[in-house]
C-alpha cells in the first residue's frame, strides 16, 4: 500500500524482511529498542 501511494519513508528507516507479521516476537522488538532504535514500523 505504501508503495502504490508512493509514500515516502525516512532514509533512516532500515527494513528487515520477516516472512509474516505473525513471526514478529516481542523479544525482537525489545532488542531493537534496547539497541537504540527510535521506533518500529510493522508493514504487514
Amino acid at each position: 500500500m505504501a508503495g502504490t501511494i508512493r509514500a515516502q519513508y525516512p532514509a533512516t528507516l532500515r527494513p528487515v524482511r520477516i516472512n509474516c507479521s505473525g513471526r514478529v516476537t516481542p523479544s525482537l522488538m525489545m532488542r531493537a529498542i534496547g539497541k537504540g532504535a527510535d521506533g518500529i514500523v510493522i508493514g504487514a
Binding site: V16, I18, N19, G22, R23, T25, R31, A32, K35, G36
Partner: protein, 445 residues
C-alpha cells in the same frame, strides 16, 4: 458426459461422496464412499423395472414437479446409465427382481469405501439455487410463484410438461408473465453479492424463449440493474427489448394473490417513470433466485482444509491475480465453487485449472523453498497450538512431538510465534539471525 465415460484413463464415480483426503501435492489419498444403488454394474438401463415398480417418489431432476418410481435412473441422459433404488420409497416387493433379465438387482448391496491415489485435485462443486424464505415474494405460498430452475424444467422438452409452458395452479398457459430479479442477491439481509449477471441473462434468455413460442405473451422483467456484461450480452438484451419484452426498474413492494384465479397482484413503482405505485396483475411470477454455494461445500472445505470467502464460496489464492489455485499446492478450483459465474467463465476456469495442474504434474520434481519450520523435539511440550494455528495444515502432533510436513509448509512462521516453548524455528529466519540483523543495523546509532 458419455465421451468422458468412454475415455479409458478417466474413472467416474457417480452417486459417491468423498469421505477423507490426506497427503499432499503429488501424493493425495482420497477415500470415496460409493453409495449402494442396490443395482450391480450389469444393469444396462433398459427400464423394465421402472414399469413394474409400484412405489413412487418425487422426481428431483424435475424439481419435484412430477414423479418417478422408487427404482429409477436419475435422469434420461445419466452417465453411467445405471438404475438405482430409493430405499426410503421402496416397499421391498421385489417385483423388479422378477423382470430384470440381467439379474442386476441386489437388495443386499452395501456402501463401498474405496481408496484412490491421486496427484492433484480439482474442486468443482458447483452451486445450488438460493431457496427464498417461505412467503418471501409469495414463494412456496402462492402456487404460481416459481423459481427460475423450475421454469427451466417446465420449458425443457424432456421436462414434466414436455416443454409446454403451463402454470402450476391450473395447468393453463400463462399470458402475463413477470420475472423478478435479484431474489436473495444484492440484498444485505440475504446474500450481499451479485450472482455475476447470470440470473439477468437467464431471464433475458427465458423471456425470449417464451416470446418465441407464445408471441402473444406479455412478459415483464422487474429489475434493479440489468447486468449484461460480456461478449454479445448487451446486444442480446437490446434484441429482447426490441421483441417487446418490458423491463421495469422497480423494487416489488407487495405481492398478493387472487384466491379464486390464483393470479398475482403486484404492487410496484417504476422508478424510471412517473405515476407512483401501481398494481399490476400477472398469471405467473418467476423469481430469479441467486446462486449459492453447493450444500456440501462446508464438508469439502473441512476435508481439504480449504477456506471459504465471506460469500461462502471457496477462497482462491488471489482474487484478481490467481483465481484458480488455492492456498494448498495441488488443489485448484473450477467454476462456481470459487464464485458465481456464467458457463463461459466456468469453461475458461475449468481449462485454466486443468493446465495449472498439468504444469505441476508433467514434471518429475516439485521444487520447494527451503524456508520451512522445523521442530526441536526435545523442547516440544506437545500442546498442539502450532497444529491449531497452521493455516496450511502442515503440522501434525505425533507421539514424540510436533512434525512439520515440509511440502505443505509455506514458511510463514505463524507456528513459531505461537509456540510457548520456543520449540519451532524457521530455517534461515531463526531468532539469532534476526538479532544479528538488528544489531548490525543499529551499530551506527
Amino acid at each position: 458426459m458419455l465421451q468422458a465415460a468412454r475415455t479409458s484413463r478417466l474413472n467416474i464415480y457417480t452417486y459417491s461422496e468423498v469421505e477423507d483426503v490426506s497427503g499432499f501435492v503429488g501424493n493425495f489419498t482420497v477415500k470415496i464412499r460409493k453409495r449402494a444403488r442396490y443395482i450391480t454394474n450389469d444393469c444396462n438401463g433398459c427400464g423394465a423395472c421402472f414399469e413394474v415398480c409400484p412405489a413412487f417418489g418425487y422426481n428431483e431432476f424435475n424439481e419435484g414437479m412430477d414423479s418417478r418410481k422408487a427404482i429409477y435412473v436419475s435422469f434420461a441422459q445419466a452417465v453411467p446409465s445405471l438404475a438405482q433404488i430409493d430405499m426410503e420409497r421402496c416397499i421391498k416387493c421385489e417385483l423388479c427382481k422378477g423382470v430384470c433379465e440381467l439379474n442386476a438387482i441386489d437388495f443386499d448391496q452395501k456402501d463401498e469405501i474405496i481408496e484412490i491415489e491421486v496427484g492433484s485435485i480439482v474442486v468443482a462443486t458447483g452451486w445450488d439455487e438460493f431457496e427464498p424464505p417461505i412467503g418471501y415474494l409469495g414463494f412456496n405460498k402462492y402456487p404460481n410463484v416459481i423459481t427460475q430452475l423450475k421454469l427451466e424444467r417446465i420449458l425443457a422438452p424432456n421436462g414434466p410438461t414436455m416443454g409446454h409452458l403451463v402454470r402450476p395452479s391450473d395447468g393453463k398457459e400463462p399470458k402475463r408473465i413477470l420475472f423478478i430479479q435479484c431474489v436473495g442477491s444484492r440484498d444485505l439481509n440475504m446474500n450481499t453479492y451479485c450472482s455475476s449477471g447470470v440470473c439477468c441473462m437467464i431471464s433475458i434468455k427465458n423471456s425470449k424463449l417464451i416470446k418465441q413460442h407464445y408471441t402473444d405473451a406479455d412478459i415483464s422483467v422487474a429489475y434493479m440493474d440489468m447486468r449484461a456484461a460480456g461478449k454479445d450480452y448487451e446486444e442480446y438484451f437490446t434484441l429482447s427489448r426490441k421483441e417487446g419484452i418490458k423491463y421495469i426498474r422497480t423494487n416489488i413492494s407487495r405481492i398478493k394473490e387472487d384466491p379464486e384465479t390464483h393470479n398475482l397482484k403486484i404492487i410496484m413503482q417504476n422508478t424510471l417513470g412517473s405515476g407512483g405505485l401501481k398494481e399490476l396483475e400477472f398469471d405467473l411470477v418467476i423469481l430469479s433466485a441467486s446462486m449459492v454455494p453447493a450444500s456440501g461445500i462446508k464438508k469439502i472445505e473441512k476435508l481439504l482444509k480449504l477456506e471459504t470467502s465471506q460469500d461462502g464460496f471457496f477462497k482462491e489464492f488471489h482474487a484478481r491475480l490467481n483465481p484458480i489455485d488455492t492456498k494448498i499446492p495441488g488443489i485448484v478450483l473450477a467454476g462456481v465453487s470459487q464464485g458465481p459465474k456464467s458457463i463461459v467463465e466456468s469453461i475458461a476456469q475449468g481449462r485454466a485449472a486443468a493446465s495449472s495442474l498439468a504444469r505441476l504434474m508433467s514434471k518429475d520434481k516439485y521444487r520447494i523453498l527451503l524456508i520451512r519450520a522445523s521442530v526441536i523435539k526435545e523442547r516440544c511440550a506437545k500442546c498442539g497450538l502450532c497444529e491449531l494455528n497452521c493455516p496450511y495444515n502442515a503440522i501434525n502432533l505425533k507421539d514424540d512431538g510436533a512434525e512439520v510436513n515440509e511440502i505443505l509448509c509455506r514458511g510463514c512462521g505463524t507456528c513459531l510465534a505461537n509456540c510457548p516453548s520456543e520449540a519451532i524455528t524457521l530455517r534461515y529466519y531463526r531468532e539469532p539471525q534476526y538479532e544479528k540483523q538488528i544489531d548490525a543495523i543499529l551499530e551506527e546509532v
